[in-house]
Subunit: 121 residues, 2 copies
Amino acid sequence: MSNSEVVELSAPRDGDVVPCCPPITAGELSRADAEKMAAMFKALSDPVRLRLFSKIASHPGGEACVCDIADVGVSQPTVSHHLKKLREAGLLTSERRGTWVYYRVAPSVVAAMAAMLELRG
Amino acid sequence: MSNSEVVELSAPRDGDVVPCCPPITAGELSRADAEKMAAMFKALSDPVRLRLFSKIASHPGGEACVCDIADVGVSQPTVSHHLKKLREAGLLTSERRGTWVYYRVAPSVVAAMAAMLELRG
DNA sequence: CTCTTGCTTCGATGTCTGTCGATACCGTCC
DNA sequence: GGACGGTATCGACAGACATCGAAGCAAGAG
């Protein structure tokens, strides 16, 4: 039932602040915000995606081409599929340069998730 | 690599630091760590669970009984199912006091997720 | 003890998702 | 041009998941 409305999470630029969701301790999430944030968490809810993401995030220069990170134990189409999901969730951006496609982390979106998880302290 | 076995996620105490996973920028995740973290993110990857979680986190006193938060648009058994998942992921702890069951956030586990998302370039 | 209320567990069901091989696409090099 | 290597899409399928109603349990009231 919930698949009718797909959130448009078209690749935020580096530097934008995602206009979503104060710390969870600040009050309960609206249904819409919950769906947006859940989509982001869902993107990181798979071990393969998490490893791809960490490989990119920890790669020198903050970016990596698919060939650098594809060794995660699944087939190439599956890697591509997962990268697409991360991109659609706004967590990664991609850019083709010549033969290779480079991925990098979208800091603002990750920051939004981290901010949401800040408990008062 | 980091730590050994399935964390006994029964009830981390309030000041514990979960021994898992430095910031993603620090290096790529091991397969085992990726699975552990993915399980936590997966727990928050559902809008209903996210709303339940935020209701508890933002509830006065830091805890809430099921009856306080059950109004999220799904049946009561479904609420219970989701709370169980959050509990199994280590994000919530529960305690029965008389008639009611109280849930509260496990701060250390949430902090571990937040820490992992710190990008601080 | 019996009834009621709050919560959990069980069983069934329809949908979503991770995975693969095959194939199409896109740049580069010869 | 054609061949080739790096990525993306497609189609199929098994396993996982969210959801519900019904039934089970626990604790308090009468």
